[in-house]
């Protein structure tokens, strides 16, 4: 396995450590203020305009899982009464709070505000209500309507913009900071640049071989994308990451010495078994050339960008229409179809997350659509993104191996699609 381990990984680690150090500083000194928010299509640009540091409970939860520390907090939350089939992110986060556990070992500050920026999942609303109650912090719930058509209506955009402006006043009142429109435009300009760079990285995966894995390597890049998107550090990181991956592509280097399969992955990874899961693909030299999970924060590879000339409006547009979870299922089908066709994939892997109904409900139908309507070989596997108890390694490996065995025979027979 020739897994990429270069500057990107090193710098990502440093940036994430620096973020946790800022949170620790905030906890110790009360400065800078911190606000809790969610990844999915968020308005971190607004926080940057105030110099407020974001706290991402989802990132904390996944960091615990990838370090094999999620089961303890999950059990602690279950002891408190959270059901076994509750979202495991919620349980790990709440349990970690109860146990005083943080991924970095440092402290997490009491947020000036708990900002629920995604209402598509009612569990998430409850999660943030609980966080606000446990931390005795104020809660603000942004009501972002689901995308019902191809584009959000002007009324939807105006509705979200009005809430963002109300949020600005709320933050001013809570922190005593003054909102600076120029600083907001600067943050939006940074996001625009990062989105452009990130999108170009994603398009590099259209090369054969792909110089990076758009699922496993993309997850490494997603930390800086979410925490530093609206900052000059984010711009610097993605500029260099793109240069490094472009150089790799120019040398004709793929993720593996000889790329054998190209797949699209739908669903988050099983973080407690991240390496074991990656190894299942590596054994077959299968590169993920695209993934839907890497678009939870935002879908930028099809052209959408924040715009400093229309900062409020484009932040609202991003929240309404240009992130995976606020869109409907048929749009997700189409996103996967485009990946399969434009990124020239051999098949699709769907990872069903037991404790996340929002992301996973309907994936059975999705599999049917892909295999029956498009003739795309599709593998469906089940475990969890956070709870290690749902991962049966032998069974998952068996399915993955069988899938690639079948794909191999297809490729040898010169077929790209299965006969339906």
């Amino acid at each position: 396995m020739t897994e990429y381990r270069g500057w990107i990984h090193q710098r990502q680690k440093e940036l994430m450590q620096r973020w946790y150090a800022r949170l620790d500083e905030s906890a110790r000194t009360g400065w800078p203020p911190a606000i809790c928010l969610m990844i999915s299509g968020n308005c971190v640009e607004l926080l940057e305009a105030f110099g407020i540091v974001p706290i991402y409970p989802e990132v904390n939860a996944l960091q615990l899982a990838i370090r094999h520390q999620s089961l303890g907090p999950i059990l602690a939350a279950e002891e408190l009464g959270y059901a076994t089939d509750n979202c495991a992110y919620v349980k790990a986060d709440i349990g970690a709070y109860l146990m005083g556990l943080t991924p970095s070992g440092g402290r997490l500050p009491r947020p000036a505000l708990v900002l629920c920026n995604f209402v598509g999942c009612n569990t998430y609303i409850k999660w943030f209500e609980h966080v606000a109650a446990f931390l005795d912090a104020p809660l603000y719930v942004l009501d972002v309507p689901f995308l019902r058509g191809e584009e959000p209506s002007p009324a939807d955009i105006a509705y979200v913009v009005a809430q963002l402006k109300e949020l600005v006043h709320r933050i001013e009142a809570l922190t005593g900071l003054r909102f600076d429109l120029d600083r907001f435009r600067d943050a939006v300009r940074c996001s625009q640049r990062v989105e452009d760079l990130w999108s170009r990285i994603k398009h590099l995966a259209r090369r054969e071989p792909s110089p990076f894995d758009a699922y496993f390597d993309a997850i490494t890049l997603m930390g800086p994308l979410y925490v530093y998107r609206a900052t000059p550090e984010g711009v610097e990181f993605f500029e260099r990451a793109l240069a490094e991956l472009e150089a790799k592509a120019a040398r004709g280097e793929g993720v593996y010495e000889c790329e054998r399969f190209r797949v699209v992955v739908e669903g988050p990874p099983p973080y407690p078994y991240f390496r074991a899961f990656r190894d299942m693909f590596a054994r077959w030299r299968a590169t993920a050339v695209a993934s839907t999970y890497s678009t939870v924060g935002g879908i930028w590879e099809f052209g959408f960008r924040h715009d400093p000339d229309r900062p409020f409006e484009t932040v609202a547009l991003h929240m309404l229409a240009h992130n995976l979870t606020n869109r409907n299922y048929l749009q997700r089908y189409d996103q996967i179809r485009r990946y399969v066709e434009d990124w020239r994939a051999d098949g699709v892997i769907i990872h069903f997350v037991k404790s996340c109904r929002l992301f996973s409900a309907g994936q059975g139908d999705m599999r049917e659509y892909l295999t029956r309507a498009l003739g795309v070989p599709t593998l469906y596997i089940e475990s969890d993104l956070e709870d290690p108890r749902y991962f049966a390694e032998a069974q998952i490996r068996n399915r993955v191996d069988a899938f690639f065995e079948a794909l191999e025979r297809h490729k040898r027979a010169g077929q790209r699609r299965i006969a339906v």
Partner: protein, 277 residues
């Protein structure tokens, strides 16, 4: 003559099959088969099954040109040359015995899977039970135990049912209390057993319907030896089902066929086989 072996290390039993090919284009024939309980030592079970098959064939293990392992314990077979999943192997084995096979239903000790097969025996699609032994061989074994019967008895006995019970569960653990409550109501064991078989058949067929069921359907795996299960599946499916006396060995047979194919590719210098196996 070229010989190849397939060893299928299943959760309950380990099976081995040796195939011989008189000349390159001739159809291979099964020259030996062996089965042992898997037990706790997977590597040893594989070795025992392979050695027993060699003895039956009257062959020295060195005369076997290629050995392919399959089943959950496939990576523990130290003497094997390559590993292939039992999904590919059952498809291949079923196609070898019944070339018209387009759907394979395989029910083993802890697994139930349905495989859509192409005209060449290639896997087109598959679905499996999730991480739970509901509706598998283990479920039947538990039901037999509660009724004080052997696994061999329950299939034929179930066919004598006149008024099958409706089981409320296919959970391997809860089936016990379900059966006890029917016994307490004075229901006959044959009616209870028919209910047990129909419950598994319904679950398996609903799994199968996730991929289009295309005839001919071949039933493989250890549970295919149970006539009650064959009839229950046929009733729910509304189609006749192929069952071979080799059904229990289908995974090992498929593995042996892959072993022969690899011998051929190896002698032809197929680059696709480099770097694996």
């Amino acid at each position: 003559m070229r010989c190849a072996a397939g060893v299928d290390v299943g959760s309950t039993q380990t099976k081995a099959v040796i195939l011989a090919e008189e000349r390159p284009s001739a159809s291979p024939r099964i020259v030996a088969r062996a089965v042992v309980d898997t037990g706790a030592n997977v590597a040893r079970a594989a070795e025992c099954a392979f050695q027993a098959a060699c003895r039956e064939a009257g062959l020295d293990p060195h005369e076997i040109g290629m050995i392919v392992g399959t089943g959950y314990g496939r990576y523990r077979i130290a003497f094997g040359h390559a590993q292939v999943t039992e999904i590919s192997c059952h498809a291949r084995g079923a196609h070898f015995i019944f070339p018209e096979t387009r759907t394979v239903i395989d029910i083993g000790g802890q697994d139930a899977k349905v495989i859509r097969v192409g005209p060449e025996g290639d896997v087109r699609d598959f679905v499996m039970n999730d991480k739970c032994a509901a509706g598998t061989g283990r479920f039947l074994a538990n039901a037999a135990e509660v009724l004080g019967l052997s696994l061999e008895e329950i299939g034929p006995l179930s066919l004598r049912a006149t008024d099958p019970v409706k089981l409320t569960t296919v959970c391997t653990v809860f089936v016990e209390s379900d059966i006890l409550s029917y016994l307490a109501q004075g229901r006959r064991p044959e009616d209870i057993l028919r209910g047990v078989h129909l419950a598994i058949a319904r679950r398996t067929i609903s799994l199968a319907r996730r991929i289009p069921i295309e005839p001919a359907v071949t039933f493989t795996g250890g549970v295919a030896r149970n006539i009650g299960m064959v009839r229950a599946l046929e009733e729910i499916l509304g189609l006749p089902i192929h069952v071979s006396p080799e059904s229990h060995f289908m995974g090992a047979l498929g593995a042996a066929l892959f072993a022969l194919e690899r011998m051929e590719h190896r002698s032809a210098g197929d680059p696709a086989l480099r770097g694996r196996g």
